[in-house]
Symmetry: C6
Subunit: 76 residues, 6 copies
């Protein structure tokens, strides 16, 4: 894992911030299960489970709170 | 997914903010399961599960915290 | 659903704020499962499940955080 | 339920604030399951389930965040 | 339970704050299940369950947010 | 456990802060299950469970909120 996947929390727009929140959520998984193969095997399971998808959206929401605060909510 | 689904966190009213929080919660699912067909198949399951519905409401609550803070709680 | 269920986050007292948080938590469910009949069918299940009731209280707590901050914690 | 169970979020000490957070967490359950008898029946179940007890502690932690912020963390 | 288990949220260091967050998380359980014997019986179960341990760490994280804010993040 | 695993919440970069959040999340587990052997036994289970991995990422997200706030979001 490169040392530069998270150089800053500042993004140009709310949507870019949301994308960063997704990335952060995925990295939380990646650090615990570093094998891409193992993660790939799990994908069909959580991508077809409503509860897993809701849980993923929850983690993204928490990370987005952090990114949004860092960007002062993209207010001018 | 258009690059413009989240142009701003600012909304005209608390209720519009709540609607945005719902949209954000759904996008968190959509990014992980991009197939509309797959998501549609899951709907009967979570729409008839009390625990799934509570979990959805939880994610909306977290996103609404962010939107509400961005709008300074719609205080004049 | 009327466009006016959430006209403001400001309430007269902490308790009224808590009531609003409950309403917000229920609306999160209502938007996902709009059928009153379907929701009514789920009630016996979650109302008699300790874990569901705890989960409901959790969502209310998150929404109450938002309402309380909006009201500056009802400090004079 | 009396209209006065939550007259204020201000408490004299952190510990009194923690007690209030517990009360708030229980009221979240009470509003959804108003029958004392039904709640009493659930008690043996969650009081002997590690996961339920952890979930209760989680809700208390969220409510305590609100109470602590309201009291400016009891800093002089 | 003594009236003095939480005299203050202020700690000398981040680590002492983390220890306090653990204590708070345990007290949330203790207030709901006051019997030490009952809690002891549950220990083998959650201490050997990955999901329970993750849930415990989650509660500690929430309480640590409160303690850290109270201490202004231990910034000089 | 050394008394110095958390000397400060301040880090040089967002990524170092994310690493600290991971460490904090693991310590929450370690304090509850101090046996390295027991923890090691659990690893295959949670590392191959999508829901466990999502839950881990959730805890990291909460801890990262704290670390990010402590660092004023690494804004100059």
């Amino acid at each position: 894992m490169s040392d530069t996947w998270l150089p800053t929390l500042i993004t140009e727009s709310p949507e870019a911030g949301y994308q960063l929140a997704i990335k952060m959520s995925r990295m939380g998984v990646k650090y615990t299960q570093p094998s891409a193969e193992a993660r790939e095997k799990l994908r069909p399971k959580y991508a077809e489970s409503a509860d897993s998808l809701i849980a993923v959206s929850h983690v993204v929401a928490v990370n987005f709170q952090t990114v949004a605060a860092a960007n002062n909510y993209w207010k001018a």
